[in-house]
Amino acid sequence: MGKTAVSAGLAYLAASRGKRVLVCEMDAKGDLALAFEAAPRGFDPKEVAPRLFAMEMDPEASLRQYLSLQLRLPRTAVFGPVARMFDFVASAAPGVREIVSVGKLVWEVRERHYDLVVADAVSSGHVTGLLSAPQTINRLVQVGLVRQQTSWMLDILSDPSTTGALVVATPEEMPVTETIELASRLEAETTVALLGIVVNRVLPELFGTREEQVFEALSSPGSRSVLSASLGGDAGGLLDAARWMVRTRRSRASHLQRLREALPQAALIYVPYLFLRSFGLRATRQVAAALAQELEN
């Protein structure tokens, strides 16, 4: 879908506007590092651009940090027991792995170490579990340190001026269907507000109405042969490529329409398809520029 590209672009944009930003890759696959052409990050945030800090979530490290703060022990002291306990807890208890992951980020917001925290979240199937972790924990765990955390976390997650979800989708069949489902699950199962939908990889509109008429005329056998003769060889492929683009864009536009009809209240933010050989910092900057333009409107 381009979640990481959008997260990176958004973080880059905010940092370039003077904000101190933390961007976190929740499933630690290393894509975020590629978006900044930096070495893979770890759990400790590292500066990848002025005011822009990147990290990868590590639930065990997060729990260790939390415990060392709460129990006032150096992090190394809780290493052995915590590793074992974490395995146990993560297998047994729904919500625990999620709560230490999302908890770390919510904590960063509370401590005001950053102006903006961007979470490049996990896939749509798992994200509601992540965002409803405080409620899950509340249901299952009655006492203990973990339980005590849930209220302030819920406060921050529920406040639309503090926390919002951006769903990234491409205008294709399955992504649109999943986005519609995710939007309703977010509302039903979490307290997090939907900020908007980023529609990614929007194909360019090649022709307006008049241009399209010219294109149709160019596609006639007579025009094709004149064009090919002028260019020194069969130029039909150039026309085919344009037709492919027009058709594909049209099919995608119909999915976009379905999205609009299902979620009329949602703000849609468009990011164009990037025709790049590879994806690195240049792509991130282009996404940032696209977002800047959209957010201005």
Partner: protein, 374 residues
């Protein structure tokens, strides 16, 4: 076994393979899916698509212009019901099964416990194989986060049941206090989660451990089935970054587990003419000479007579720019295709189709393209 990352068209391809087999090879074919979106039913024209097995009527084939030699069936698996059935089957007695199914931890866990969808699909496959009603079973594997999870599910299940971790979890709380080595562990766990929760979890795992023999035995049988020479793995992917990486990881894992990759199907491939270098140079020429060509084409007696020359020039410029753009993407894909082919012979490529596949005719069209490249 149709495997691969999510969102690449596995379900459509599974339907296509099943449909083509039913049409051309005959016999009784079953396509199994654990797909919550029920797209398999939609693709095969089964409405409503409910749990259990349904036959795709001959009328649907006729409407799609085909005459099947055999029968095509489809089955939708329900992961939750599957788990409940698993528990009931492996539990030593009805009372234990009842207690597990009613346990609060089980309720919360069964959705996510050791990749539940994957394990259910595999379990069901084994059952179907044992029943022997079908000549061909096509399994549309679940769209998990990592394509390899599916393959590792039986092993992980067996590992979990024999692990020290489970033994630790299933020990009644009071007796743990005597184990000095485990004490720091429990001290931290107790502070973080509280005693009552730990006891609840312990109760669940004490019960759950009674299932272990059945699970471990079954996991071994399933592994044997997967490595049977009659089992083939078809990996589906597109050439986009994330799906590619998962497909590669999966292809590396197959030989590591002693399994053979049947082949690779690349979906949404870009048309071949985009790679043509001569065409690319003509696109450059078009960009440079757009103005001159526009005037020529819109001159009296020329094919575009009557059109405004600047307008034609704009369109010609767009044609050139568009070609270059799409060719960049094509080059990117070509590099990735080359990488993937090193790991396995590419079985087939299915081009990006103008419309999404949503009926049997569309499914058969995909099937024909794959079939012709065997």
């Amino acid at each position: 076994m149709v495997c691969g990352p999510g969102g690449v068209g596995k379900t459509t391809l599974s339907a296509a393979l099943g449909a083509m087999a039913a049409v051309h090879q005959g016999g009784k074919v079953l396509v199994v899916t654990v797909d919550p979106a029920r797209r398999l039913g939609q693709a095969l024209g089964l409405r409503p698509f409910h749990r259990g097995q349904q036959r795709v009527p001959d009328a649907a084939f006729r409407a799609a212009g085909a005459a099947p030699r055999g029968e095509l069936w489809a089955e939708l698996l329900d992961a939750r019901a599957g788990w409940d059935a698993l528990v009931s089957r492996h539990a030593p007695d009805r009372e234990t099964a009842r207690r597990i199914l009613a346990n609060e931890i089980y309720q919360g866990i069964s959705e996510r416990f050791i990749q539940s969808h994957d394990y259910i699909a595999i379990e069901r496959l084994f059952e179907l194989h044992s029943e022997g009603d079908y000549d061909l079973i096509v399994v549309d594997t679940p769209p998990t986060r990592n394509a390899v999870d599916f393959l590792l599910a039986p092993e992980r299940m067996a590992d979990f049941f024999s692990s020290r971790l489970l033994k630790l979890l299933a020990t009644p709380y009071r007796s743990r206090l005597a184990d000095a080595a485990a004490r720091p562990f429990y001290y931290v766990a107790d502070r973080v989660l509280g005693t009552r929760f730990l006891e609840q979890v312990a109760e669940f795992f004490i019960l759950f451990q009674t299932l272990s023999e059945g699970f471990v035995e079954r996991a071994k049988e399933v592994e044997r089935l997967l490595s049977d020479e009659r089992t083939a793995f078809v990996v589906v992917s597109t050439l986009e970054t994330v799906p590619m990486r998962e497909a590669e990881e999966f292809l590396r894992l197959l030989p590591a587990k002693g399994l053979d990759a049947g082949g690779l199907v690349l979906n949404r491939a870009l048309p071949a003419y985009l790679f043509d270098a001569e065409l690319a140079s003509r696109a450059s020429a078009l960009a440079e000479r757009a103005g001159e060509l526009a005037s020529a084409l819109s001159a009296p007696g020329a094919p575009l007579e009557g059109f405004d020359a600047p307008l034609v020039q704009r369109v010609l410029g767009e044609l050139a720019a568009n070609f270059h753009n799409v060719a960049v993407v094509a080059k990117r894909e070509a590099a990735r295709r080359a990488e993937l082919s090193r790991q396995v012979g590419v079985l087939a490529e299915v081009p990006e189709l103008p419309d999404d596949v949503h009926d049997l005719a569309g499914v058969l069209e995909v099937g024909r393209r794959v079939w012709s490249q065997r």
